[in-house]
C-alpha cells in the first residue's frame, strides 16, 4: 500500500486524482445541498443542482442552440484576435526597434493601454451599428494594445550588435528578419497573444451582454432575465470551457514551438498582461 502510494506520489498521478476527487466532492455537496434546500429555499432557487445543469447542457448541445451561440462568440473572438494581432505585432516591433519611435509613440501606447476600452463601445455602436462590426472592432482594439506593448518589448530585446554584424557580413533584409528578428521577438509576441486570448473574452462578454442577439454572453444575461437559471449556468460553463481550452491549446502550441526559449529558463512577460 505504502509503496503504491509512494509511486503515485513520484509520478504525480495522485495530484490529478486528488483534483478530480475534490471536484467530485464539491459537486456532490452542492447537489445534496441544492436538492435538500439546505439553509432555506431562497439561495437554491438560483443555484440549480449540477446534475440538472449537466442535463440542460447536453440537451442544449444536442438541439444546437448552445452550438449556435458558441459559434457566434468564437467567430467574433477569432476575427477580433486576428485583426488585433496582425496590426499590433508589426507596429509594436517597429516601435521597439526604433529608439526615437519608442520615445515618441511608446508613451501614447502606454496611455491608451490603461484606458478601459469598453467605455468606447457605445460610440462604436453608433458609428458601425449593433451588428458584428462594432464587437469585432472593440475586441481588436482592446487586443491591439496588449499585443503592441509586448511586441515593443520584443523589438527592444533584439540584439543590435547581431544585426549590425549580419549586415556587415552581407545578410539581406529578409535574412535578418527570419534569422534574428523573429527568434528574438517571438517569445514576447507570443506572450502578448497568450494574454490577449483571455482579455478578448472579457471584451466579447461585455459586448454581447450590452448589445447582441446571439452569443454566450447574451445567452447568460438573457436567461438570467427569463428566470431560466439552468441555462444561465450552462452559458457560464460553456464560456469557461471555451476560454480554458483556447488557452490550453495555445499553451501546448507554445510549448511545441518555443521550447528552446523556455529551456533557457526564461518566462515571456506575464507581468505585462492587461487581462481581467
Amino acid at each position: 500500500m505504502r509503496r503504491a502510494l509512494a509511486e503515485m506520489y513520484l509520478t504525480g498521478k495522485s495530484y490529478k486524482l486528488t483534483t478530480l476527487c475534490i471536484l467530485f466532492i464539491f459537486a456532490g455537496v452542492y447537489e445534496f445541498a441544492s436538492r435538500t434546500h439546505l439553509g432555506g429555499l431562497r439561495l437554491w432557487i438560483f443555484f440549480v443542482p449540477p446534475s440538472r445543469i449537466l442535463a440542460t447542457f447536453f440537451s442544449l448541445l444536442l438541439d444546437g442552440t448552445l452550438l449556435e451561440h458558441a459559434v457566434y462568440s468564437m467567430m467574433r473572438v477569432g476575427a477580433g484576435l486576428a485583426i488585433g494581432v496582425l496590426l499590433g505585432t508589426p507596429l509594436g516591433l517597429l516601435i521597439g526597434w526604433s529608439r526615437s519611435l519608442d520615445l515618441v509613440i511608446g508613451p501614447i501606447v502606454d496611455l491608451v493601454r490603461t484606458f478601459p476600452k469598453p467605455a468606447l463601445f457605445p460610440l462604436l455602436i453608433v458609428i458601425s451599428g449593433i451588428g458584428e462590426v462594432s464587437k469585432v472592432i472593440l475586441i481588436s482594439f482592446g487586443i491591439f494594445f496588449i499585443v503592441c506593448i509586448n511586441s515593443i518589448y520584443g523589438g527592444r530585446s533584439i540584439d543590435r550588435v547581431l544585426v549590425a554584424s549580419a549586415k556587415v557580413m552581407g545578410a539581406t533584409g529578409a535574412q535578418i528578419f527570419t534569422k534574428i528578428v523573429i527568434p528574438y521577438s517571438l517569445p514576447y509576441v507570443s506572450a502578448g497573444i497568450r494574454i490577449s486570448l483571455a482579455t478578448s473574452l472579457t471584451y466579447l462578454t461585455f459586448a454581447e451582454m450590452l448589445a447582441a442577439e446571439r452569443g454566450i454572453g447574451y445567452l447568460v444575461l438573457y436567461s438570467q432575465r427569463n428566470y431560466s437559471y439552468d441555462t444561465m449556468f450552462v452559458g457560464v460553463m460553456a464560456m469557461s470551457l471555451i476560454g480554458g481550452s483556447m488557452v490550453f491549446a495555445y499553451l501546448s502550441l507554445e510549448r511545441r514551438f518555443l521550447s528552446w526559449f523556455y529551456a533557457m529558463g526564461r518566462r515571456g512577460g506575464d507581468e505585462m498582461s492587461g487581462g481581467a
Binding site: 468606447l120 444561465m232 490550453f248
Partner: protein, 273 residues
C-alpha cells in the same frame, strides 16, 4: 542637418515634447475636420470636436445640470468600487497564492484548476452576482474582485516560486524556521511580482467596474456614458470617456510611481544585474 537641429530634436525626444505635439496635432486635425464636417455630416455628429467636449467636461465638473451628469460624483463612485474590489482581491488572493506556492501538494492539486478557470471572463459571472447581491454596488464589486483575485493568486504564486532555492536551503541549514524563511526570503522575492500584479489588477478592476456599470446600473462612469448615448448627447459622452481615461490612467500611473518608490531596492538590484 545641422548639429543644433539634431540637439533640438533629441531634446524634444527626452522631454516627451514630440509625444505631446503628436497628441496635440491629432486633436487639432480632428477639430478642423469636425468643424468643416468633411465627408459625411453624421460622422462628425458623434466625433464631436475636442474643444466642445472639453468645454462640456469643464461645465459638467463645475456645475452639473443634474445628478446623472455629475461627473465628479460618478468618478468617485467608480473609483471607490474599484478600490474596494482591489483591496478585497489582494487580501483574499495573496495568502492563497502564498499557500499554493509554499506547499507543493496544494500547488499540484489546485493550480491546474486555477489555470483552467483563469481565462474565464469574470463578467460572465455578473448575472449570477446580480441574483446573489442585488443590482447595487456589491455585485459589481464582486465581479471585479473575481477578476482581481485570479490575477493576484497567479502572480503571488509565481512570486513565491521564483525564490532562489539556494537561499532557502542555506537559510534552512543555518537553522532558520519556516516563518523566518517566509519573512526574510520569500516575501522579498514575491513583492515585485505582487506589485506588478496589483498594477495589472488596477486596470482590470476599473475595466470590469465600468463594464458592469454600463450593462446595468444607475451610478458610475459607465452609466454616464450609456446615459449620454441614450440621449444622443455626444459631447457629454466624450466627457464621460475622458473622465474614464483620466481615472484609469491616473490610478495606474499613481501605482507605478508608488511601486518605483517602495520597491526601489528591487529595481536597483535588477538594473545592476
Amino acid at each position: 542637418m545641422g548639429r543644433r537641429l539634431r540637439v533640438f530634436l533629441r531634446w524634444g525626444l527626452e522631454g516627451r515634447l514630440w509625444t505631446f505635439s503628436l497628441i496635440f496635432a491629432f486633436c487639432f486635425l480632428w477639430e478642423i475636420l469636425a468643424r468643416l464636417q468633411v465627408g459625411s455630416f453624421f460622422f462628425w455628429d458623434f466625433m464631436v470636436p475636442p474643444s466642445k467636449s472639453l468645454a462640456t467636461f469643464y461645465s459638467l465638473l463645475t456645475q452639473p445640470p443634474y445628478q446623472e451628469y455629475d461627473i465628479l460624483y460618478h468618478s468617485g463612485t467608480t473609483l471607490w468600487r474599484a478600490g474596494v474590489a482591489l483591496m478585497g482581491g489582494v487580501l483574499v488572493a495573496v495568502p492563497v497564492g502564498f499557500a499554493l506556492g509554499w506547499w507543493r501538494a496544494l500547488d499540484a492539486v489546485f493550480t491546474p484548476l486555477f489555470e483552467f478557470l483563469r481565462p474565464t471572463p469574470s463578467l460572465i459571472f455578473f448575472p449570477i452576482l446580480i441574483l446573489l447581491f442585488g443590482t447595487g454596488s456589491v455585485s459589481k464589486i464582486m465581479a471585479s474582485l473575481i477578476a482581481v483575485s485570479f490575477v493576484m493568486v497567479i502572480n503571488s504564486l509565481y512570486g513565491v516560486k521564483s525564490t532562489d532555492s539556494v537561499l532557502i536551503n542555506s537559510l534552512r541549514t543555518m537553522g532558520a524556521s519556516n516563518a523566518d524563511i517566509l519573512r526574510k526570503a520569500v516575501l522579498y522575492s514575491a513583492l515585485p511580482h505582487i506589485a506588478s500584479g496589483i498594477r495589472v489588477s488596477i486596470g482590470a478592476s476599473i475595466l470590469v467596474i465600468v463594464s458592469t456599470e454600463m450593462i446595468q446600473g444607475k451610478e458610475g462612469l459607465g452609466f454616464v456614458i450609456y446615459f449620454a448615448l441614450d440621449r444622443l448627447q455626444f459631447d457629454h459622452m466624450w466627457s464621460g470617456i475622458l473622465a474614464t481615461l483620466l481615472v484609469g490612467a491616473g490610478a495606474v500611473y499613481l501605482w507605478q510611481y508608488v511601486e518605483k518608490k517602495v520597491l526601489k531596492w528591487h529595481f536597483e538590484t535588477t538594473a545592476r544585474a
